[in-house]
Symmetry: C2
Subunit: 101 residues, 2 copies
């Protein structure tokens, strides 16, 4: 399981579409689409109900959403804690994309 996939998933939910999320995350639309597919395959459950081009979260999707937010929050704490230490050592470009915040 890749944290990036979860990030993409959350971005899709937040933005409402794969296209919008892919733009925010600066990846191609197919890449974002594939990541969702991969998650669904890996978990064995549908994350979205595809009604035409409309995406609506399934109950499992909502489940994953909550969990993903927690995971990403924790991961963020990790990065935030690592970042400052890194600065003391050498100044490296901070890997931060403008998704939600």
């Amino acid at each position: 399981m890749n944290l990036r996939y979860l990030h993409t998933f959350v971005s899709i939910v937040d933005s409402g579409s794969i296209a919008r999320a892919s733009a925010r995350l600066k990846v191609s639309q197919p890449a974002a689409s594939r990541q969702v597919l991969a998650l669904e395959t890996e978990l064995g459950v549908p994350l979205f109900d595809r009604i035409g081009r409309r995406l609506r979260l399934t109950s499992q999707g909502e489940d994953l959403l909550q969990l993903s937010r927690r995971l990403l929050m924790d991961a963020d704490v990790l990065s935030a804690r690592a970042g400052p230490q890194r600065r003391a050592h050498r100044n490296i470009a901070c890997r931060r994309d403008a998704d939600g915040h």
Copy 2:
């Protein structure tokens, strides 16, 4: 950031050595070693003090350890929730290694 790396890291701490952890996780010793190195590089902080062949957690290592446990616990919840559903949909090889528990 890959969850597997964190899993390896926690295993190393729990088992006390890279060799033991790699055996548990059924990966090669170099692979486990490289994963730790990758984490240290990515975070920009040393996770262990290498005193000879003795590994002792740094304070940042202890930090990461706590966070990692939480992350992996959440990820586990995810898998546990997905597992049962997965069987109903399609049977995919279950990626589960016998670490500690």
